[in-house]
């Protein structure tokens, strides 16, 4: 297989060590695999496809022909993480999310971190995700991103050991948790015998944790809060997840038109008349929430919602304005936030990042484009990026012009050799690059997460892009003890 990384570097494989030996936590799996005929696995695979179609777990790919819905490919070979490794990750994730929430509270209040000169002010002021409307608004518990998805990758260090890095923070409306849950259900159904060989930590209590989190951030004085899930509607790419989570939590799934504001209180229309709503798990972008406060042409939101929110009569999860903390231009400063707000050294590292707004960084990056990954600061979902080693000369030159036109719009990172995990492919089993998105829940004083998260896999040989919108698949993720 060929992997597009610097010659000489070799990716860390989750199952095999550098000498080709099977790592201890994969040995029971390997033994099981050896004793299982390939035909059986192929049969299980088509069973899985049919079941997923029946559940309707699909994903809309923007830009594909006719905006077609399709299945996210599911790989039957699990990604296994040893328990102690996970516990270290868990501490790092909690620390990072705590710092990010502190940063958001600061940015919308005293802006101490700007005054202290630890983050340049223009990164905030010239950021479309900064919501001046949130200045001085107090949110319950000082929490902004109650549901965060932190993307991790593992890269081989010089010593061949794998080290986790944070690739991206998703603090607005991170999606994918429904795949995590469905993947586990599917695996348990297809291969019950496998689960007798491992003590796999459960994930199926995620909806309970999510509901507890949402209830914990209800407005002060509300003892038995009503929680709803707000969706932009059935045309949204993640609609399946919205309805899935509402159903799993046993709460209403609503659209903007089902809600209204009266006397600064939020209500939903029900067949029994209006009913107060206290907490909205909203899966709708800031811009569309309230036509009175943001985009006046939005038909998806609720007029007056921001006023009810500002008055403290309803909680939005996540809060408005969290995008200013997960933007790629702010990402390089997250370790600094950990130091500034928590007085601790970051447990999880960032990927080294060049900021092309800085002249020195720009010069370096322009000289090394073929080796680097260049990303648009405000891009998401794997759109608008250059993967140097995987691009043609013409593509690189084309991108060079785009960078030169507006260098401040880009950051660059080394091409990491993302770790691989064996994956079922046409020809058998082959290594494919993977990442990991744990979902971090902050409510009340505690930060909680279910063990593991969503593992995404780049199914194309050599590809480093795992985004579902770019043809990535998913795997079940096991944390084992």
């Amino acid at each position: 297989m060929s992997i597009t990384t610097k010659p000489g570097s070799r990716p860390f494989d989750e199952m095999y060590d550098a000498s080709g030996a099977i790592r201890p936590h994969y040995q029971p799996y390997a033994a099981w695999l050896e004793g299982t005929p390939r035909q059986l696995i192929d049969r299980k695979r088509s069973e899985a496809d049919i079941a997923f179609h029946r559940v309707g777990i699909t994903f809309n790919v923007y830009g594909a022909e006719g905006g077609k819905e399709r299945l996210i490919p599911f790989d039957l070979l699990p990604r296994i993480i040893p328990g102690e490794e996970w516990r270290a990750l868990e501490r790092g994730l909690a620390q990072r999310v705590r710092a990010l929430n502190a940063f958001l509270g600061d940015i919308y209040h005293g802006q101490e971190i700007l005054r202290a000169g630890r983050i340049p002010a223009d990164q905030i002021l010239n950021n479309a995700q900064f919501r001046a409307e949130m200045k001085g608004v107090d949110v319950p518990g000082g929490l902004y991103s109650m549901i965060a998805g932190i993307d991790l990758v593992r890269a081989a260090g010089a010593d061949g050991k794998g080290e986790f890095f944070v690739l991206e923070d998703n603090l607005r409306v991170p999606s994918g948790v429904s795949y995590m849950l469905e993947n586990r259900k599917m695996m348990m159904r297809l291969f019950p015998d496998l689960f007798s060989r491992y003590e796999v930590q459960p994930v199926d209590h995620y909806p309970d944790l999510l509901l507890e989190t949402l209830r914990a951030v209800a407005p002060t004085g509300v003892l038995d809060p009503t929680v709803v899930v707000l969706t932009p509607g059935a045309y949204n790419s993640a609609y399946f997840e919205h309805s899935f989570l509402a159903q799993q939590m046993g709460v209403e799934l609503v659209e903007g038109q089902d809600l209204f504001v009266q006397d600064e209180m939020l209500y939903m229309r029900t067949t029994q008349g209006p009913r107060r709503v206290d907490v909205i798990y909203r899966r709708l972008d800031d811009d569309f929430l309230d036509p009175l406060a943001f985009r006046a042409d939005s038909m998806l939101g609720v007029p007056g919602l921001m006023r009810a929110y500002r008055a403290g009569h309803v909680t939005l999860a996540n809060a408005v304005g969290t995008g200013v903390a997960d933007d790629k231009s702010i990402y390089p400063y997250v370790p600094e936030m950990v130091r500034f707000y928590l007085g601790e050294e970051p447990i999880l590292n960032n990927v080294p990042t060049w900021m092309l707004r800085e002249a020195d960084d720009l010069a370096y990056v322009l000289e090394h484009l073929p080796e680097l990954v260049v990303k648009e600061v405000h891009g998401a979902g794997g759109y608008g990026m250059l993967v140097g080693p995987a691009s043609t000369k013409a593509e690189i030159e084309d991108f060079r012009l785009r960078i030169l036109a507006a260098p401040e719009k880009y950051i660059a990172q080394p091409t990491l050799s993302l770790s691989t995990c064996p994956t079922f492919v046409e020809a058998g089993i082959a290594p494919r690059h993977i990442d990991l998105r744990p979902f971090v829940l902050s409510g009340g004083k505690e930060i909680r997460m279910v063990p593991g998260g969503l593992t995404r896999v780049a199914l194309k040989e050599g590809s480093l892009v795992v985004n579902s919108s770019q043809g990535g698949g998913t795997k079940d993720t096991w944390v084992v003890d």
């Binding site: 802006q111 700007l114 005054r115 000169g117 983050i119 340049p120 002010a121 223009d122 002021l125 010239n126 001046a132 409307e133 200045k135 001085g136 504001v261 009266q262 006397d263 600064e264 036509p291 009175l292 006046a296 007029p303 007056g304 006023r307 500002r310 707004r357 036109a405 507006a406």
Partner: protein
């Protein structure tokens, strides 16, 4: 003038009437109609009359420090009348010496270095930074370089910032035609620039675009002009309606205002309502209605000087 400045008092009446062709079932409105207080402006009285009577009305201060009123009407209605009646006192500013102001490049660099983390950030610069970048009505990007080009004729190397800004205001006044029929509240700056015509809102947006394209901080000021001029003086454009002008931030002199529509520096005949990044932040009345089909709006503004001793209430 060698006498010390005297506060001028005005009565303001700002009427807005919407007539709908179909019934409105629910109306929620946000109003920037209460004149903000500032060092050289006092608000002596103010009332907002709304018909039909709102079911809810709230006052707060927005993120630019402007007073803002919110109200909603949840009864069926065919028209909405909003009348703001205020009495204000205005003092002319002490003019900073334009020729002695910082060279404009120094002002630009001061802001750039402070905001990009290359120099310590003072609160004034952090505050000004809010008005330095693009905003919904005044986008800033590679496509706005032409505004920088346009401004460069006034912003000669080393020229004091306030002198250059005054020259830019004069140039816009001279080269653009005042034409209420040419534009609407939603006309983009690019169209105003191409067609060389518009109203006070357009000229203010254009001037802000020019200043920001050069790396300076500029804000949009919404307000009123004296309706009936003092004897012997010409009647100014923009009276009898709400008016708009521009303020530019100068590190040594603070915010200094210019009125490109009348090619003048606002003194005690310009009454401030509110300021923000652009019109969108301070629009006098905006809202969301349920029903109503189409509507026609009528706006009338009267500004009357209050003479002599009657003045303070």
């Amino acid at each position: 003038m060698d006498s010390s400045p005297v506060m001028q008092y005005y009565d303001l009446v700002h009427d807005t009437i919407y007539r709908y062709t179909g019934p409105v079932l629910l109306s929620q409105q946000v109003a920037h109609l209460r004149p903000r207080e500032r060092l050289r402006q006092r608000l002596l009285s103010h009332r907002l009359q709304i018909g039909p009577r709102p079911s809810l009305q709230r006052e707060r201060t927005d993120f630019f420090g402007n007073p803002v009123s919110f109200f909603s009407i949840d009864r069926r209605h065919d028209s909405l009348a909003v009348q703001a009646v205020s009495r204000v006192g205005v003092l002319a500013p002490a003019w900073p010496d334009a020729a002695a102001s910082l060279p404009w490049e120094a002002a630009r660099d001061h802001l750039r270095d402070a905001l990009s983390g290359h120099a310590p950030l003072q609160d004034e610069a952090r505050e000004a930074g809010q008005y330095r970048f693009g905003s919904p009505f005044v986008a800033i990007g590679p496509q706005t370089l032409r505004y920088a080009d346009y401004a460069m004729q006034c912003f000669l190397p080393g020229r004091p910032l306030l002198e250059a800004a005054a020259a830019l205001s004069s140039r816009i006044h001279a080269e653009f035609h005042f034409d209420p029929a040419a534009t609407s509240v939603a006309t983009p700056v690019a169209q105003v620039f191409a067609e060389r015509r518009g109203v006070c809102q357009d000229f203010s947006h254009l001037m802000i675009a020019c200043l920001r394209a050069l790396g300076l901080a500029a804000r949009y000021v919404s307000g009123y002009l004296l309706t009936a001029p003092p004897p012997g003086q010409p009647r100014l454009v923009g009276a009898d309606a709400s008016h708009a002008w521009v303020a530019v931030w100068c590190p040594d002199a603070g915010w200094v205002e210019f009125d490109p529509t009348n090619d003048m520096q606002p003194a005690d005949e310009h009454i401030t309502l509110a300021w923000g990044r652009d019109y969108g932040d301070v629009c006098p009345l905006r809202g969301v209605i349920l029903g109503g089909a189409s509507h026609a709006a009528e706006v009338a503004v009267t500004v009357t000087p209050v003479a002599g001793r009657d003045a303070p209430v």
